[in-house]
């Protein structure tokens, strides 16, 4: 297991390095002068030249990349040109908002999706199974931005149950502000996880250990919940790990539609303004999040299922 974890950690570092390097090169390949955007139209050429030098943009790209990694190894992500604040401070100030949104979305969608899928698998080809299938597919098919807008109009504007914008202050207020965005970006995951759990469960239900359990006269509820679901849930763990990346991208639009602070909005704003230090800081952290979550999913899989360790 230690060997597996070490190899997985090494792979994660490699993925992180490749992703950040590609992003570093891509953002510089995009047309648009960051200095001109940052200083605005009235800046003098002398001032533009000064800032270009201060940002190191007058250096060859390979040198800029080396400087970036050199600073990164010292824990320095740079300084935001607009506010003069440390990029690390800015990114870590926004990160909790995105994390709480992603975790809230995963929590409710996985809980409901697993329950729905397990229930459908336990009652295959019944009316309930078909209703569950219809609901699941509808959820998967519902575009998250449409769900977000409808949820806003119904629950924030019409019923006025939940706030429309912001992230709130204090635990309960923040929780309250999470409801609609987490609902919007988690809804399609409910359907996806439900279909996955159902398929996986039906496969597991036919396996010998489940048949043996039944032959021993163990109650059907216990067979489903303990003997089948425990194995059937493994693909869900993997999917949730990979899903972190998708939820990070969904968080971008949720943060815009619900005017929430967060990493996604920070990245979009920074790319628009060609604020390179913030873009790189945000990409580094979000890539690290993705890499860590997939690695964790692999490790959990390996812990739960010894076959996964040997497969790797």
């Amino acid at each position: 297991m230690l060997n597996f974890a070490t190899r997985r950690f090494g792979l994660s570092l490699l993925i992180l390095f490749v992703a950040v390097t590609v992003m570093f090169l891509m953002i510089r390949a995009v047309p648009g002068d960051p200095v001109q955007i940052m200083l605005g139209p009235r800046a003098t050429p002398e001032l533009q030249a000064q800032l270009t030098a201060a940002l190191g943009l007058d250096q060859p790209i390979w040198k800029q990349l080396l400087i970036f990694y050199g600073n990164l190894l010292q824990g320095d992500l740079g300084t935001d040109v607009f506010s003069g604040r440390s990029v690390t401070d800015i990114v870590f100030q926004q990160l909790p908002f995105t994390l709480e949104l992603i975790f809230a979305s995963i929590l409710w969608s996985a809980s409901l999706g697993i329950a729905l899928g397990a229930y459908a698998a336990a009652h295959p080809n019944t009316l309930i199974d078909r209703i569950a299938a219809a609901i699941s597919v509808s959820f998967v098919a519902a575009p998250a931005f449409v769900v977000a807008l409808l949820a806003l109009l119904i629950f924030a504007v019409h019923l006025q149950w939940f706030p429309a914008i912001g992230a709130g202050e204090g635990f309960w207020d923040r929780l309250n502000h999470l409801v609609l965005p987490a609902f919007a970006i988690g809804l399609s995951w409910v359907g996806y996880i439900a279909r996955l759990v159902r398929a996986s469960m039906l496969e597991v239900m036919g396996e010998s250990h489940v048949r043996t359990a039944r032959a021993f006269g163990i109650a059907e509820r216990r067979v489903v919940m303990v003997y089948a679901l425990r194995i059937a849930i493994l693909p869900v763990v993997t999917v949730i790990g990979v899903g972190m990346g998708f939820l990070l991208s969904s968080a971008v639009f949720a943060e815009i539609v619900f005017a929430r602070p967060g990493l996604g909005k920070l990245v979009i704003d920074s790319i628009t303004t060609r604020n390179y230090p913030i873009v790189m800081g945000s990409v580094l952290i979000s890539t690290a999040l993705f890499v860590v979550s997939t690695a964790l999913a692999d490790l959990i899989n390996a812990l739960l299922d010894p076959r996964a360790r040997t497969a790797h």
């Binding site: 009235r42 001032l47 604040r85 704003d269």
Partner: protein, 521 residues
Amino acid sequence: MKIEWTKANVGRRGFLKGATALGAATALPMGWANRAFAADDGVLRVRAYGDAQNMDPAHSVGVVEEEVHASIYNKLIQYKPGEEWGWQLDAATMIEQVDPTHIKFALRDDIGFTNGFGAMTAEDVKFSMERIVDDATDSPNKPDLGPFSHVDVTGEREGTIVLNKPFAPIWSIALPYITGNIVSKAAVEAAGGRIGADPVAESGPYLRDSWSPKEKTVLKRNPDWKGDAPTWDTVEIYPIDDENTAEIAFEAGELDVTRVSLGSVERYRAGVPNGGSLVEKPSLYYVWMGMNVEHPKLQNQKLRQAIQHAVDVPSILEAAYFGAAEPSTGIIAPGLAGHRSSSLVPPEANFEKAAQLLAESGETNVTLTLDTLNKTTFTTTAQIIQATLAQIGIAVEVNVLESGAFWASGDNENLQLVLNRFSMTPDPYYATSWFTPEQIGKWNWERFNSPEFNEIHETAAAETDIAKRAEMYQRAQDLMEESGAYRFITHEATPVIHSARVIPALRPDGLSLLRYFGKAT
């Protein structure tokens, strides 16, 4: 005492029922309790389209930061809310132009800076203005002060602003706007000469209480403010880029004031939710289609004039601006000196004249590219231009660009047609400054090169006779249009909605002057 724990007899159904009930019991009242926004809590909630992240006026990047700066700092003069451009006294008790290059002022004696930095003096005015033109400050706002030289301090609270040459815009864009904010000399020097994300000393009717990046800025009354007390105890400014989100937030009762999209104007004309009102203000922005006169395909003036006449502005305003904006006559908006009552080329297309000009040009099989921003308004406009130019046999390919790439087009010599939109301050000098020969390769994307235009730009800034100045700027716009390089489209509009409990204080172009907002009784 021994406590015996027994296993709770909760089945799956019982658990689900209990969890659902608990969820409903906690979530719903929590939501309702939070919805008391419409109550008279003394908090004014306004939307800004961006986040104010720098508290140094020298490094302000525009309207978003100025909204906060104008509330927490003072200027000698401030803009007046209303329908016409004008200014009123703020930190000054007296200000007077004694000759074309000298402006005398006297400060109020009851304005102090926070954090123990003492009373505001003429030294602070001198420091604030001179640091902006000082190269060491690296202020991108330096051009707003034009030929400003220095401030002579003649008393503790008296001084004279000295200009190198006459500069009319000092009254319209320098003193009442970004470069007019007075900061504390002692505080800024103590901070190393530069203010960052947090103000080092404030003096206005409001103080910045907190800033949650990307979420909100909170302003609270300054307890030591001796001037007219602001009506609202607290102002919360929400940075919301998307106008649809802002409209939903307003309708949900979470915002008191927001600019709305032009597409929503018709709906709000029929009624604003929650008893609110719609205010329609003109805008200073100007939108036009430019033609690069140096491009080999567009060097023929007759061809450019044919294109001018083939673009139907009313169709654009109907489709892209939902009928909520008026045609423009140039780069200077109504209400400003130099505005033309009509353009040389009427807004309506004249395809016969366009075809005739095209024939006179001798050009055939004309194919052109039109660069535009990736915003719906502009792509729709570009499509209409494409369709109307097709009517005289000119084929147009539309290039849609993301904002960063689009705004880097200044040095693109291959640019042909471009759909553009510039912002503006309330002085014509600001508008003409982008179309001078010096700006070719920077912001003069049409590469329009007129010595007469340049001469007007230089001399009109120093002209203090308003009528003469207006005539000069009108002539400047005639020159632009005669060149065939410009098809003026619109100044857009600024529709603002506000809740019933607010009396908004807006500049003539619809931007908020937060310190003057009132409460409806």
